[in-house]
Symmetry: C2
Subunit: 606 residues, 2 copies
């Protein structure tokens, strides 16, 4: 078994940190209690472990390949996808009205983690479909919803996000793809999109592209961008597939990682032979989503869902790398322990530095999982709670956490997968071992759906400066309350955690003051510190969740529940406090004092 | 031009930090002054830029391959190696008595950096040959020296180090390869060695393997290991090549990086057809180096040379990644600057976070280069200075620095190459771009020639605890002197540096006390902090060298010398102080308070 889903840890977070039973009191989510969570997670663990995980290595060795406009995915992927769709997994979090199961994100996120731990390249296809569903649910008219949503929610069709063009990556103001209005209300789309995940593949019968383009005469920049549905195959009135649309995959990329996930260059409106272009002339037929020129706003709905999910991918790949490294450390025999506890060469898990690496991997993974889980709970409350004020508070908390989940969890995943290679020593560098794949795969996570810098800009601008630091400080106040409880508990672990948490929180508050005070007066200095600010915030909030875990585990341990698990939870939290949280004051120093030196060199000195 | 050697920065370090003119006063090194350094570096820069750098990508795409016992290297490598050998580069640092040029390490190290920046996979072949030469020079008898050294120094033959076996990696006590004494004084060698860099290739006519093996009846463990020369082809009395030895390459590894460098599995004494085995029966013919059972001691000579060189590889790959990222940042247009200084989308070098990444890359690279350069100067003084006391002090300083150069520079190279990918955004993840190769290549550096943990053990045990922290504290005292000079200089940059340096030094001294006090009493806690101690020490010493650079640059700037270069030197040092040195107190906290939590979980909890 190459991957065993950490169901126990997930349920601990869902029950005690996310308070699932409270979520299940929200009207409409009554069936989403702990029992449902357990049942769904156990079923998903089977699918992940038995079906998806074994295909992960195969995807790396035998990636998707392009052949005359078609993409042939890794052997086994198509069948696995069929099982995924038939099991109803695509609809897990989507509305019953369109065939989904309407489960809360608090449960859904754990499943997303499992699927991604098992096979990140595979999981990208459903991840993008989720984003397309979100966008259509929020912005599309009833006709579009009726045509596309059932098929997407069932997994029969898949979705894509088409933002990037060669000159327009982080900067969508530069999008050039154009949309020409047609007499029948549709549009013809012309242009080239790159980096389109699962932009072409053979796992489903239709692909629903969501495409950013400019309608002729639209304003310049981001205010002139509209969003279109452009299906690979047009859809007849009866829901059956019609003509091939004028969109083609002209190549896929040769990448560092996630090799089984096809990254397509798509050409719209180039007059593809055998497509609608043969009757109506060149131009891919597209349908406007919502109103013209509001495309970026709609795309952000997809992006936010996708950003959260990418953060969960960070946790997922870290968990997989941890499991592999832990297993190797328990098997590989090398050298005597430094404390003389064993008189001969022993398994390397005895060696303090191997322990340090494994504990770092474990603490970062559990901390980021806990943070993602409470963020999901906030999302659920923000969307479903009957009380508007509760919704608002939870929305603010969730919005603040999205860049942390995306930015911090993915940055930490690179540290974890790198340590995973290191634990394996020389064997880690050999591709056959498999540790290197996680290292390579994880590298995309800090880049796509907005680089860490883009997340950090969001954190600084929209999430911190806009409300004058209110949300940021409210979180710090909650952390201070947790510190007080730790202090009162007075166990060595709780006191160690309280100490680190306090130092980190105080450093964080200095940074918040710096950011709020300087965004307009000294934008370069503030944005020079934006990524360190994101790392400090994510570090602190993840540590805070482990502090809460520590308190819960102490309590349950006192009640005699599952001592080995609870003791490990406490030890892991303490490790995080003593080894990870202690990074925050250094980040504060760099942010608050270091802005000037970032920009000191003239541009041409590099 | 894909790589331009940073000759100016190297000469700055060589002149002002390593004080080359002082080295040139040592008898025997009179010709090794600044003019020689400049001439050699400029020539090496041409070879690196024109010949070796263009082959680097080719080596990644078209790696060495194994075919029926032979290894065919990347097209172009053989010819490039010929140019390298004919140019006399292999003999640069070796004694004129064997055909070398006898230049100091202070100059040689800069050349090693260039060759490795240009093409790390290629450079590994000379790097291993250097190690073999060192071992033979120190430990071999005159007959072996006469037979092998001229050909190795000329580059006609290459050398290897054969330590690792499947069960014996970091733990050489587990070596099983055996040596059977023969009546003529030679030995027959039997066993399997793995991970042998350039263990087989087609670039030179003979390969001189240095092999660790046990003579029958030798003591168990590391005290029963001997070192042997085992040439691929035996050497006749007249120096011509004789029969093929009974050693064969049975496979090479498929690796994450440095793909052009063949990593061989070598089988000794398996009765290779067409070899000496056909007459004399199976067994590779080997010749004892020095005395029986002292093999590990001799191998450490090679290892120490190689460890320093691997540290320089870290600097080299970081420099290459920096150059690529800096160029991209100056070309790629995306988004408006946050300070409104340009009204339209502009090159990304304007964006504060891109700057932060480039400055981090640059500061780490320059800091580690400076540290390696002063270490090289200490090596030269330790080996050649007429005064025994000066030799001794320099030897202690050099020995202390080797684990820092190896451990810190290679760990930082992974941070730098990762940032290099990140600066490229989505393009960084596409293999065609080339940034990902450096990221992959660098991952071996923290593993081979002793993992970072092995370097850290060395730093804790042999370099710190053994002399009761004397060398460690002597370095701190020198740093305190530099702080005083900075304080007196009183410029904003000098004061910023003094502040960070002081905080880092004080934290470091606390760690030294902890290490010295606890190595025997609490070995697990000390060794749990060994890698963080190494990182703190490396960070501090590299920062100290940049502090010295800052002072020199201020002085030369006042004299009107090369203002743009000197200003950049000052700004880079200040960035290091404000963004990198500030990590040290957090490491101190983790080491001094965090030992217990590293070992808290039972072994089976992972």
């Amino acid at each position: 078994m190459s991957y065993i889903a950490p169901v126990k840890d997930m349920l601990f977070d869902i029950e005690h940190l996310a308070n699932i039973e409270q979520i299940a009191q929200i009207p409409g989510l009554e069936e989403a209690g702990l029992d449902t969570a357990r049942a769904v997670l156990e079923e998903c663990a089977r699918l992940s472990g038995d079906v998806l995980a074994p295909l992960n290595v195969e995807g790396d060795r035998n990636p998707s390949r392009w052949e005359a406009g078609r993409v042939i995915t890794t052997p086994g992927f198509k069948e696995a996808y069929q099982q995924y769709a038939e099991g109803g997994w695509q609809g897990l979090q989507h509305p019953p009205a369109y065939g989904g199961q309407g489960l809360p994100k608090t449960i859904g996120a754990a499943c997303v983690e499992m699927i991604n731990s098992a096979n990140m390249s595979f999981a990208l296809c459903p991840l993008l479909t989720d984003g397309a569903i979100e966008a259509l649910l929020t912005a599309a008219d009833d006709a579009l919803k009726a045509t596309y949503l059932h098929k997407l929610v069932s997994g029969e069709w898949t979705g894509t996000m088409n933002l990037t063009e060669p000159q327009a990556g982080s900067d969508l103001a530069l999008v050039r793809t154009r949309a020409e209005p047609q007499p029948d209300g549709s549009y013809k789309i012309f242009g080239t999109k790159i980096f389109i995940t699962y932009g072409e593949h053979d796992m489903a019968e239709n692909i629903v592209h969501l495409v950013l383009a400019r309608v002729q005469g639209a304003p310049e920049g981001v205010k002139g961008i509209s969003l279109f549905v452009v299906p690979k195959f047009l859809v007849n009135k009866d829901g059956s597939l019609g003509a091939r649309n004028d969109v083609q995959c002209v190549s896929i990329e040769h990448k560092l990682g996630i090799k089984a996930s096809p990254t397509a260059v798509l050409q719209y409106g180039d007059g593809l032979a055998g497509s609608v272009a043969e009757q109506g002339g060149p131009g891919a037929i597209g349908y406007l989503v919502g109103q013209e020129n509001r495309g970026l706003e709609y795309m952000f709905i997809m992006m936010n869902a996708a950003r959260y999910a990418v953060g969960v991918q960070g946790v997922a790949i870290a968990e997989r790398a941890y499991q592999k490294a832990a297993r190797y450390a328990q098997e590989r025999v090398q050298s005597r322990p430094v404390d003389g506890s064993v008189p001969a060469s022993t398994t390397i898990v005895h060696h303090p530095d191997v322990r340090r690496m494994l504990m770092t991997m474990r603490a970062l993974t559990e901390g980021c999982r806990a943070m993602a889980t409470v963020a999901a709970a906030a999302y659920d409350a923000a969307h479903h709670h009957p009380d508007a004020e509760v919704r608002k508070q939870n929305a603010a908390f969730y919005e603040f956490l999205v860049p942390l989940v995306k930015g911090y969890s993915t940055e930490m995943s690179q540290e974890v997968t790198s340590l995973g290679v290191q634990v394996h020593g020389g064997m880690g560098f050999i591709e056959e071992t498999g540790a290197a794949q996680y290292y390579r795969d994880s590298k995309i996570l800090t880049i796509y759906e907005g680089t860490t810098a883009i997340q950090a800009n969001d954190l600084v601008g929209r999430k911190t400066a806009r409300d004058g630091g209110q949300t940021a400080r409210a979180i710090a106040a909650q952390i201070a309350q947790t510190e007080a409880v730790l202090q009162a508990s007075a166990t060595p672990a709780a006191l160690a955690m309280a100490r680190s948490l306090r130092a980190a929180r105080e450093a964080y508050l200095e940074v918040v003051d710096f950011v709020v005070g300087g965004t307009k007066a000294a934008p370069n200095a503030v944005y020079a510190g934006s990524v360190p600010y994101l790392l400090a915030s994510g570090n602190l909030v993840a540590g805070w969740q482990l502090a809460r875990s520590l308190l819960v585990a102490q309590e349950l341990l006192a009640k005699g529940q599952d001592a080995p698990f609870m003791q490990a939870k406490i030890a892991t939290a303490r490790f995080y406090a003593e080894h990870i949280l202690v990074r925050v004051p250094g980040l504060r120093d760099a942010i608050v004092a270091g802005g000037e030196s970032v920009m000191a060199l003239p541009n041409d000195a590099f």
